[in-house]
């Protein structure tokens, strides 16, 4: 089974729904390697974001994801690893 892909566009949409956008931050800019904290998303915003990712993609992320994934790129890689693992197991 082919794995679903979690893209930057998906992440941006979920971030906006989950926690909105900090004033002065442009999610359409170069954000892949920006610190999520610097984009205005503190731990609770990321908890809400990962909760929404889990629901939408029907995966379970370890609680440490919130603390480990410091950038959008790291979060995308982590989620896509899970999606690949789910597809491989199917």
């Amino acid at each position: 089974m082919t794995a679903r892909e979690f893209t930057l566009e998906d992440l941006k949409r979920i971030l906006r729904e989950a926690a909105g956008t900090e004033e002065g931050v442009d999610l359409e800019g170069e954000i892949l390697d920006a610190e999520l904290a610097a984009l205005g998303y503190e731990s609770l915003a990321l908890l809400e974001t990962t909760g929404r990712i889990e629901r939408e993609y029907d995966i379970t992320l370890d609680d440490s994801v919130v603390t480990e994934a410091k950038t959008p790129r790291a979060l995308l890689e982590l989620v896509n690893e899970h999606l690949l693992a789910v597809a491989a197991a199917a």
């Binding site: 909105g20 609770l44 809400e48 909760g51």
Partner: protein
């Protein structure tokens, strides 16, 4: 220290009959009510169907998107009221030391609408669907916390929960913090729980009017008084030491001159209710005699027994028909923790303009022996106002405001 004069330099109002202090004040003088049929949800299956609702408030017009998913309506209203109060005071909190500023608000119900939505998700969709922000969005202290974070106010802060009396209790704590050395405290209260969950909680108190006539539903001190109409909103005030306000050239609305709180004896004890003592102690704290009080903003419960207790307390201190009394909350409904701060804002505007806004709808029962201002505003020289607030379960609070010198 304790003699430090503490003054109000900014007002932020979100009321059912006006967004912003000036709009609210204009509506209040005109006798324009914000009470009407509930539109926030379908009330047809509930015995009480009227509320004082704030129409036309769009949080996204005032607040960054970052705050919207994590805030209940009451917090959105409170954040906007705080913004307006600070702007009115001419204060930019970013330029002041963070630990010199604090926030002390009152709360009555917490974020019921937010909480209801998340609880519905919990039992219909499962725990994974509950917002992480439910952890604090419902909480009594959340308005204080969000205002503190938004403006970087890290000094003495807290929340008072004593139903409608809490609005005055919070202002008193804010005054104490100014006297202990804080430079600026944002204080007051904003409540909003016009949602099914909030409604059943309020119905359980058996104090709501079930009248469906907006003109006749909330009639404090009237022989036909039969409960109150709840409303949403309130007011936030900026408090500073008089000297500091004067030094920076701030416009001063008036002084928080006196305050006291008492608790009623247990039901059936035969002892007198505590409201009269609260009034006397607040006047003593202000160094005022009853004769110096120019107007009383009544708690105005709208229930015969509670109205009688309040009227007796006022008559005992000021004499029969001894002082003008008003209840502009007849135009907003009772706003719980937001009610008394809104009355304080209204009292300060009354002092500034030399006019007492009317109590609408009510034809006072002559037995109460109150000089109730009804019909139209009463122009008079005003220097000192007394604001009364009572909370369910026996809380009585009284606060004296005096015109700026």
């Amino acid at each position: 220290m304790s003699s430090t004069s503490v003054v109000v330099t900014g007002l932020g109002v979100t009321a059912p009959n006006g967004l912003g202090a000036e709009e609210y004040w204009a509506a209040t003088l005109e006798g324009r009510s914000g009470i009407g049929g509930i539109t926030a949800f379908d009330p047809s299956d509930y015995p009480a169907k009227l509320a004082g609702q704030i129409d036309g408030f769009v949080a996204a017009d005032h607040l960054p998107s970052r705050l919207l998913p994590q805030t209940d309506r009451m917090t959105q209203l409170a954040l906007v009221a705080a913004d307006w109060a600070l702007a009115d005071a001419g204060v930019d909190p970013q330029t002041l030391p963070a630990y010199d500023m604090g926030v002390v608000t009152a709360s009555s119900s917490g974020g019921f609408e937010f909480g209801q939505r998340e609880l519905q998700k919990l039992w219909s969709l499962g725990a994974r669907h509950v917002s992480a922000y439910q952890s604090f969005a419902w909480f009594y202290a959340v308005n204080t916390g969000q205002i503190s974070i938004r403006h970087g106010m890290r000094g003495p802060s807290g929340v008072l929960v004593s139903d409608q009396a809490g609005g005055l209790d919070a202002i008193s704590v804010a005054r104490r913090q100014i006297r202990k050395g804080s430079r600026l405290i944002v204080t007051g209260g904003v409540d909003a729980s016009i949602c099914p969950w909030g409604w059943v909680a309020q119905l359980a108190g058996e104090r709501l009017s079930t009248s469906e006539d907006p003109e006749r539903a909330y009639l404090p001190f009237d022989a036909d008084a039969a409960g109150h109409v709840p409303g949403e909103g309130g007011a936030l005030l900026v408090l500073e030491a008089a000297d500091a306000a004067h030094e920076r050239g701030a416009e001063v609305y008036g002084e928080i001159a006196g305050y006291a709180a008492t608790f009623d004896p247990r039901p059936g004890s035969g002892r007198a209710p505590g409201l009269r003592r609260a009034i006397e102690l607040a006047l003593a704290d202000a160094g005022s005699t009853p004769g110096e009080v120019d107007v009383v903003f009544a708690d105005a419960a709208g229930l015969p027994d509670l109205d009688r207790i309040e009227a007796e307390a006022i008559a005992a201190v000021f004499g029969p028909r001894g002082v003008p009394v008003t209840a502009p909350k007849t135009m907003t409904g009772r706003l719980y923790s937001g009610a008394a701060p809104l009355d304080v804002a209204c009292a300060l505007l009354s002092l500034r303009e030399g006019v007492i806004p009317p109590t609408t709808g009510t034809s006072p029962d002559p037995g109460h022996q109150l000089d109730l201002v009804t019909g139209s505003p009463r122009e008079t020289r005003l220097r000192t106002a007394l604001v009364l607030a009572r909370g369910h379960g026996g809380f009585n609070s009284a606060l004296v405001v005096r015109a700026a010198r």
